[in-house]
Amino acid sequence: MKTEDLIVGLARDSGLVRRLPHPWVRAAVWVAATTIYLAGLVLFIAPPGRLGAAFVDLRFSFEQVAAGLVGLTAGAAALTTVVPGRSRRVLVAPIVAGVLWSGIVAFGGVQDALQYGATGIPLRTDWPCVAAIVLTGSLPAVGLVHMLRRGAPLTPRMTVALAVLAAAALANVTACLVRPHDSSLTVLAWHGTSVLALCGVAGVLGTSVLKWTWSTHLEGAQP
């Protein structure tokens, strides 16, 4: 097909389009919807009195706020990467939030070490939380990927990895609220590693999840 014919075909196919809102607005919408969904799950699953007891600890509260910030900033960064021409400086935000979250958790680990002694820290395996992060984070991740598909897959691996980071970070809050943990180091090792592993898998699958696509009636015009 000649390029000139393609141009005419594309112009004929054009119609009124609904512009995508600003990435931060879209991220806020996604975080709000995800928070409602996860809050519902927490209220349904958490043992009675668990939530009140959890937020008594100020460090724990800051940890959950930092994890929420990771979710918001990673979601916004993912949604920004699908808008051509946008600055990549937004990628700094989830990194800062991630460092803040791991710093708070690590500080909790130091407190544990001071309380129990270096050899007395109660370290446990935490497979239920890994499963909880995967299961509760799946639906928000699918929703975010659906939103990302309305944009341009300029960097699919990074975009999908950021989307999964956002969903896993918020799901991690759910896991922390539902199940009490004896040690912050358990959270750092099991939750942190799970989230990073999920991001890695998402990065590998990124090009399969986000692809350039166009309407089927333009298929004939595809070079």
């Binding site: 112009a11 512009r19 021409g85 350039w212």
Partner: protein, 177 residues
Amino acid sequence: MRAAQAGDSDAYLQLLQHITPRIRQIVGRRRGFAGQADVEDLVQDILLSLHAVRTTYDPSRPFMPWLLAIVRSRLADGARRHARQGAREVHVDDPAVTFTDPAANTDYEGFEDEEALHHAIRSLSKGQREAIELLKLKELSLKEAAAASGSSIGALKVATHRAMIALRRTMNRSHED
């Protein structure tokens, strides 16, 4: 682009016509080693991509950075595709086909007596003659020949096999004479 997003197809046509030479120039500069057809394929790929994500353009921001981000992305995808294909394909020189390269055909016997061959074909039974004409002279596929003759593919194969034996026998006899 603002007008195009509002549904003005004439403005969109003008925009695409205006930016296409620029895109072609960029692609040609970055992929100069590729042929003209490959460059044009990439240009069309970029135009389709631009069309697919035109909802992402924000009229309050400049147009060119938006366009160039798409161009860069599609060029990178094209380069990756090219590298992948290059790694999987092995280029070989056209090997001499045995039947057309006389040096490779020490046992090949060309027939000089066309009239004798036509005579031999005419002497075949109706079914065998039809099979030879359709499959060997008209070079139809078995399926096409079966459709044309109304015979089954199996019957055609048998008729051809028997016809070839009969022709070889007849031609050998005529050579000996």
